[in-house]
Amino acid sequence: MKARTYGRHLRESFKSIGRNGWMTFASVSAVTVTLLLVGVFMVLMLNMNKVATDIEKDVEVRVLLEIGTEKAQVEEIDKKINQISGVESVEYSSKEEELQNLVKDLGDDFRLFEQDNPLYDVFIVKAEDPRDTGKIAAEVSKYEGVNEALYGEAKIERLFNVLEMSRNVGLVLIIGLLFTAMFLISNTIKITIVARRREIEIMKLVGATNWFVRWPFILEGLWLGILGSIIPIALVTTGYYYAYEFIKPKLQNHFIQILDFTPFIYQVNGLILLMGCLIGAWGSFMSVRKFLKV
């Protein structure tokens, strides 16, 4: 196709947007509402994902060693834990260190225990996949010299299930919304196409190729998609900016963090724009299809 022809298609697509003012408005509103919902969902989901990974990362097995275990046996246990498949790291922490941590977290009152330390020496074990935590704990608790292997057990398992489910539900919702938007845009463009049926018929009769007929409509859909993504991008950006400013200080020094404003918001905006373009172009591609059979 010649460069001049692309120019023509561009002009035609703009002309059509102007000519179908109200239909354009309707399509753009439909895309705006959908993309806004999708955008908000996306921000929530990705942050939830982030929080979930943070929590997962923090999951660890605390292996309490029997009081008075020989040094050789401690080393033996260390070796054995390291050999379990799926173990990422094993860290030793003596009961003195444990007490220091406790004092740091809970206050000087706990210095009382320095006289008679009631704590255990521990191994802190992290799993490569947090979901293996339970298995590892069960394995380790069988070793000689191990008093107990602790991890959140039921609580953690339930958390994983909830996270998994909400991820899937969010994904399904986003996909459903995108399809709705595509359907809406395709219907609105169909109405503008019906009005131009005759034009398409004549074009085909004088020897226009299908792509020649299609291009202006696809471009029109593309513009509708881009116009429709402006407001969602603006709202999601400002919304996240304020949410971030509000939440971030409250999570200081906490192991859970939300996603940083940049580059996260640019990625989300890019995705919103991309989805706008895709639903616009694809929607009009689908609706013009029927009218090409002349």
């Binding site: 196709m1 010649k2 001049r4 022809t5 023509r8 005759r198 034009e199 018929e201 004549i202 074009m203 085909k204 009769l205 004088v206 020897g207 226009a208 190729t209 299908n210 020649f212 002349v294």
Partner: protein, 228 residues
Amino acid sequence: MIEMKDVYKQYSNGVMAANGFNVHIKQGEFVYVVGPSGAGKSTFIKMMYREEKPSKGDIIVNGINLAKLKNSRVPYLRRNVGVVFQDFKLLPSLTIYENIAFALEVIEEHPKQIKKRVMEVLDLVGLKHKARMLPNELSGGEQQRVSIARSIVNTPKLVIADEPTGNLDPETSWDIMNILEDISNRGTTVIMATHNREIVNTIKHRVIAIENGRIVRDEQRGDYGYES
């Protein structure tokens, strides 16, 4: 130029519109296609520019077998076939000039060339002075002349006219015939489906009569042959 060999066409509703067409039309011929409504005239004509595809048999136009032509190649076939309709099929929002130029724009002709060709064909149909008017500012006969101008603007070897005088009064019809004659005299093949007995009987050409999906008569310099 055009050859049909045992062409059958059955529509999805079961109607047999073509029951074995066998016909040969030479380059430069002027052919009338006559017959009662619903006899298969339109199917006969529509198959020549692949608006309809035959169910069986071969149709060869300009050396291309339309029965085997891929859908994606159909546009290129149509660039060598001009089509004129009873209802003109002009775009009401475009001027006369733009309507004709449209046919060249869609085949990506050079703008300079478009201007030259459009003025030439407008001159040929005698409407140069109305180039800037809109179709509904013209009479029916004038609109049909525009549609003929559009059909020949890319110098096709074949012009197909489906009842070009069907919506026109007798006097205007003669004007249209003069233009078609003119086009034919320049070596273009013209195939015209018509119900106009007077024209067929006055300007003598080959007549193909179709009834019930069959060619029942094919005569050089024939008559209309039906009571109208």
